[in-house]
């Protein structure tokens, strides 16, 4: 039996095949890992010009209060995330994470204040659990609606000019702004955000128009199709977490160095301090620090150090520190890059530790994240 038969397809599946993509199963979907250009060229294309990514496998969800008031939806979702959502201005987006009672991370997500409701984007692998989680805890106060729309990302330094040819107002958007717009007469939702470390956009498109809009973007000489392989190397260089690798229910937001995702209003002394799952542990770690921390790791040599490689304090592998959570080759860094968790005693940038690769203990230097300089238009 063909084991790809059970895989779901995004609205752009046929387009991927027509572009010669190599398809792989990812989070239950048949997705393009790379196109004929290959991961290296696709990565550099995105950093140097622009790339378009199909991220339609991600979950797009509307959270709307039964009262019809934004404030009620915001306060409801605040009971599940340590994020200031009430204070989120209309047309603005914020990163956040669902936490569990132990302070672990159930998923990370993007949260937008859109008109009188919330628009959230969650990871493909978690979307059913996330929707059930919201239904269970805030379903009495809010309607949770999963949208059947495509989502593409247009990322790279040329992205804004490419998109401005279709919709001139895009140039006025700032990082994390979200706007309704029409692209080729198709009603779309555009956010100036992404997962590459570059300036760029994520565009939510009605499923039946997705191929048309994506094809038009690909007609631009500065735009190429980019697969999941380069999406991963781009986000790794940008120091961004991949749920299931770098963050999960065993990691807290403070351990994961995601303090920036929690605003003053929700922290100790804030106007709405706590009130989310795991608040006891997370607020305590915000005040007192966690015992371990996610850090950047730069292997000294040329060998990539991959996820699950064990980290040691010494070159003999005697004192284990933790594990690499993501690692590979960074085409823009032109060398291997990784991240992982180490005790605070070894978390300072410049600390040399050792990663076990094929029985050898290779020196890696704890490094500030990101590995590249992001070009977000703040």
């Amino acid at each position: 039996m063909d084991d790809t038969a059970a895989l779901k397809k995004t609205p752009l599946h046929a387009l991927h095949l027509s572009l010669g993509a190599r398809m792989v199963p990812f989070a239950g979907y048949d997705m393009p890992v790379q196109y004929p250009a290959g991961v290296m060229k696709e990565h550099l294309q995105t950093r140097q010009a622009a790339g378009v990514f199909d991220v339609s496998h991600m979950g797009q969800v509307i959270v709307k209060a039964k009262s019809g008031k934004y404030e009620d939806a915001a306060l409801a979702l605040e009971s599940l995330v340590p994020v200031d959502i009430l204070g989120l201005a209309e047309g603005r987006q914020r990163y956040g994470f669902f936490t569990d009672d132990n302070g672990g991370i159930l998923d990370d997500l993007m949260i937008t204040h859109l008109d009188d409701h919330l628009f959230v984007v969650v990871n493909a692998a978690c979307k059913e659990e996330d929707v059930a989680h919201m239904q269970k805890h805030i379903g009495d106060r809010c309607d949770i609606t999963v949208l059947d729309r495509a989502l593409i990302a247009l990322q790279g330094p040329r992205a804004v000019d490419v998109l401005a040819e279709l919709w001139a107002d895009v140039a006025a958007m700032k990082f994390m702004d979200v706007r309704h717009c029409r692209l080729h007469d198709v009603s779309c939702l555009v956010s100036r955000s992404g997962y590459s470390g570059e300036d760029g956009f994520e565009i939510s498109i009605p499923a039946d128009k997705a191929e048309d809009v994506t094809k038009r973007l690909l007609e631009h000489p500065d735009v190429e199709a980019i697969g999941l392989g380069a999406r991963d190397s781009l986000r790794l260089e940008a120091g961004l977490c991949l749920y299931g690798n770098d963050i999960d229910t065993t990691t807290t937001p403070v351990e994961a160095a995601l303090e920036w995702g929690m605003q003053k209003a929700r922290k100790t002394g804030g106007v709405r301090a706590g009130g989310f799952p795991g608040a006891g542990r997370i607020l305590s770690e915000l005040d007192n620090g966690a015992t371990r921390r996610r850090v950047g790791l730069k292997p000294d040599g040329k060998a990539p150090v991959r996820g699950h490689a064990k980290l040691y304090a010494d070159a003999e592998g005697k004192t284990e520190l933790g594990e690499v959570t993501s690692g590979g080759f960074g085409p823009s860094v032109e060398g291997p890059v990784a991240m992982g968790y180490v005790p605070l005693s070894h978390a300072a940038a410049g600390t040399v530790i050792f990663a076990e690769v094929r029985g050898k203990y290779l020196p890696v230097t704890v490094s500030a994240l990101p590995f590249i300089t992001p070009t977000y238009k703040r």
Binding site: P304, F329, P336
Partner: protein, 120 residues
């Protein structure tokens, strides 16, 4: 004499010494190589031992020793520039030279036609 393995290595055998590399097909599957680790000169391997490692942007893969033998030479050029393996896998991108323990062992490997059929 040119031979192939089912693990996508090629061997050019001359006077009991095989020059070994990975095939066009293997390179196409692996994608852009970013790291190559070669065996030590003088190391001896049995058939199917892990003799070398290649890494693409995405993943690491083992290169197996195709026959019993001793490493007599390695291609340091592909360590300095792994993209040589992508651009010329069956030429300048060779990995190592192996002095065969038993030259007749090569008879059991695939010839070019059989390998083509395998990867068609």
């Amino acid at each position: 004499m040119l031979k192939f393995t089912e693990e996508h290595e090629w061997l050019k055998i001359e006077g009991g010494v095989a020059t070994v590399g990975i095939t066009n097909y293997a390179v196409d599957q692996l994608g852009d190589l970013v790291f190559v680790e070669l065996p030590e000169i003088g190391a001896t391997f049995a058939k199917n031992d892990n003799a070398s490692t290649v890494e693409s942007v995405k993943a690491a893969s083992d290169v197996y020793c195709p026959l019993d033998g001793e490493i007599t030479e390695v291609n340091e050029a592909i360590v300095a520039d792994p993209s040589l393996v992508n651009s010329d896998p069956q030429g300048a991108g060779w990995f190592f030279k192996l002095k065969l323990a038993n030259a007749a062992d090569a008879d059991g490997l695939l010839d070019e036609a059989a390998y083509r059929e395998l990867t068609a």
